[in-house]
């Protein structure tokens, strides 16, 4: 049966999964949230200072609770399929910060060996599926990954596919989700509804009041939740995982949030014109980081000084990785012609 839950009130899960989180979990989560924030800030800064000369920086400022809340409850063997707004997901799922920075700088040792940019990378051994620029196409590819897991007898492993609300308008999004629903694949689609697709407001992308309502058409559960509230994201994700692992099919989670910056670093000036100032100011107040910090303090388990903003080791780790990437060699020109075909015929990898 399809359940559409809209708004914070109904979106909150009956089961408070977060209550099982230990102090050490909460500390890690706090660090992860800041990691995502500092990652973003450091790359914007590198671009502004001319230290990063190629490629766009697509920020996730304001969307960190989604990134952390949807990855934290994952287990070994689960897959993720992140896109341009989800860079920290690659690291939270096991790639090194150095590797990711090498990718951003197009270095020889980057996962794509300098061939593609930004989030167009992956690591199948870590359960991270590669994306392309073609928005929506990952949702359909996810079905193939899940089918492969089914063939391997791993029916309880899930795939979390991220998408913006805008990309839910593409054909492959529909084809993928329809296929997953027909075959009850354990696909969790996390829609990061940040209110804009580039300059286009959500009303011009999605005709229903919530993106979650799209789930009705596939007969799957759809949740519309506060994407800036870590606890709510985490609890919904845990419920979705139980559903998917139990073989009940896909789940769509719409995380309502806001893109606090431009579409990418080149868009800052225009983005202040096509977004109302009051809207930006309102969402600044819903920043997921101070909210989570407030929650931690309210539990009585933390003192102010235990929760630095940002944690210095996060800043240090990211800066170190950036310096590392900058110091590494560019790819050799001739390698541009490598990796077009794999001639090791008949060998399954």
């Amino acid at each position: 049966m399809s359940r559409v839950r809209t708004g914070r009130k109904n979106g909150r899960q009956a089961v408070a999964y977060h209550e099982r989180l230990t102090k050490s979990d909460l500390q890690k989560i706090y660090r992860n949230l800041w990691f995502a924030r500092v990652f973003d800030e450091a790359l914007y800064d590198a671009k502004k200072k001319g230290r990063l000369r190629r490629g766009n920086v697509y920020g996730s400022r304001g969307q960190e609770a989604i990134i952390v809340g949807t990855t934290y409850p994952l287990e070994d063997g689960d897959f993720v399929s992140p896109i341009h707004r989800d860079m920290p997901v690659f690291i939270l799922r096991g790639m090194t910060t150095e590797e990711v920075m090498c990718q951003v700088w197009g270095k020889a040792e980057a996962p794509t060996r300098g061939k593609d940019s930004w989030s167009h990378m992956g690591d199948i051994s870590k359960g991270i599926v590669h994306s392309t620029s073609m928005l929506g196409s990952t949702i359909a590819v996810a079905c193939g990954v899940l089918w492969s897991l089914r063939l391997d007898g791993k029916r309880d492993r899930v795939l979390v596919a991220y998408t913006g609300e805008g990309a839910t308008a593409t054909g492959p999004f529909h084809e993928g989700l329809n296929f997953a629903a027909v075959h009850k694949l354990p696909l969790i689609v996390v829609v990061e509804n940040n209110q804009y697709a580039y300059s286009t407001p959500v009303e011009l992308e999605v005709p229903t009041k919530t993106v979650a309502e799209r789930a009705k058409g596939y007969g799957i559960p759809g949740y519309s939740i506060d994407g800036n509230d870590f606890i709510e994201v985490y609890n919904t994700m845990c419920a979705a995982l139980e559903h998917a692992r139990a073989g009940k099919g896909p789940v769509l989670i719409e995380c309502v949030t806001y893109r606090l910056q431009g579409h990418a670093d080149h868009d800052e000036t225009r983005a202040r014109q096509y977004r109302p100032v009051e809207e930006i100011e309102m969402w600044e107040k819903r920043d997921p980081l101070p909210r989570f910090r407030q929650y931690l303090l309210s539990t009585g388990q933390f003192t102010e000084s235990e929760l630095p903003e940002p944690p210095p080791d996060v800043v240090e780790e990211i800066q170190r990785a950036i310096e590392y990437a900058i110091s590494r060699p560019d790819p050799e020109p001739h390698t541009a012609l490598e990796d077009i075909y794999d001639e090791s015929a008949g060998v399954s990898k």
Partner: protein
């Protein structure tokens, strides 16, 4: 005459056609409120209204299909692909729907649509923001392919493409958008560049260089360099890739007897392959030397600078190839 950028020439052509013909409309992602990712449609929505300037969801299939349906019923749609690479989602609409429509309707229902967008490399755009696959549509019956190099041609060809009764895929090289400037005629002249006519951009005696798009500028630079060495290049800008103007090429070859074809797309199966085949097939006697091609290597356009440079053709590549031909 007006001095404008390549981008502005395209913008003005569309603007004037929309003023002239109320059946012309446009559709694309972020083209209205924002005026397009590159600003090509800036001001259109304010002036022409939201019924004729449609901000579409991220749905390239629908964006092109809306133009097809509207074209079947008398309108002329201009579809913007935010980057022409994304036409792959609308590929079926161009190739199987728009391209075949006239044929299937017994000649009764032409499909006047223009699918346009920024193409090409040299800007570090990596795989999906750098491609140049005009060959996909070059291979498709019923579809025309345009790829200008200068503002006046971009202006005249855009007008002709909008007025043309067939599906046209219009490539706008993003490297040229703001780098290339030139004079275009005033609106009162109703200036049109007919589709299917090449233009000699530089006259010369020794080697015919056939090219289009951004490569025209590379070829002209190579010609300038080689002039100092006493090698004279004639540079033909195809402007329209399909239909192909063989006449202009042959006329030039009668003079030079040497042919160098330059294109930015992967070499294999590209437009240059067809030109070479036609010359070899029908005009072999005109040649005094083997035909040469300078094109991208058969790879994707990679991100890192040394890789992108390695894959895409350069002015140096053209100079070296021309020198070899001259020495032959």
């Amino acid at each position: 005459m007006r001095e404008v950028t390549f981008l502005e020439a395209i913008r003005l052509a569309m603007w004037e056609e929309m003023e002239r013909d109320p059946n012309v409309f446009m559709i694309g992602e972020d083209i209205g409120r924002m005026g397009g990712a590159f600003g090509v449609t800036a001001g259109f929505m304010e002036h022409f209204g939201a019924d004729r300037v449609i901000d579409a969801p991220i749905s390239e299939t629908a964006i092109i299909a809306v133009c097809v349906g509207a074209a079947a019923t008398g309108k002329r749609g201009i579809a913007e692909m935010q980057f022409i690479d994304f036409i792959s989602y609308g590929f079926d609409q161009v190739v199987n729907v728009a391209g075949t429509f006239l044929y299937r309707s017994g000649g009764k229902t032409p499909i006047p649509i223009v699918v346009r967008g920024p193409s090409g490399g040299y800007v570090g755009g990596s795989l999906y923001h750098s491609q140049q696959f005009e060959a996909w549509f070059f291979h498709t019956p019923g579809v025309k392919v345009v790829q200008p190099a200068f503002p006046d041609d971009a202006y005249g060809l855009m007008k002709a493409s909008i007025r043309d009764n067939n599906p046209v895929v219009f490539y706008e090289h993003k490297y040229l958008y703001r780098r290339v400037k030139g004079a275009i005629p005033d609106p009162s002249e109703d200036y049109i560049v007919k589709l299917g006519e090449a233009r000699v951009r530089r006259y010369g005696d020794d080697i015919t260089v056939v090219t289009y798009g951004a490569m025209v500028h590379f070829a002209l630079e190579a010609a300038q360099r080689l002039e100092k060495e006493g090698v004279s290049l004639e540079v033909i800008d195809l402007r329209t890739v399909k239909p192909l103007d063989m006449e202009t090429i042959l006329k030039s070859l009668e003079k030079t007897s040497k042919l160098l074809i330059v294109y930015e797309a992967p070499k294999t199966g590209g437009v240059g392959a067809e030109i070479a085949a036609r010359i070899a097939e029908h005009s072999f006697e005109l040649l005094d030397a083997p035909i040469k091609r300078v094109a991208a290597k058969d790879a994707f356009v990679p991100f890192a600078e040394p890789l992108e440079k390695f894959v895409l053709p350069s002015v140096d590549d053209i100079v070296f190839a021309a020198r070899e031909l001259a020495a032959y």
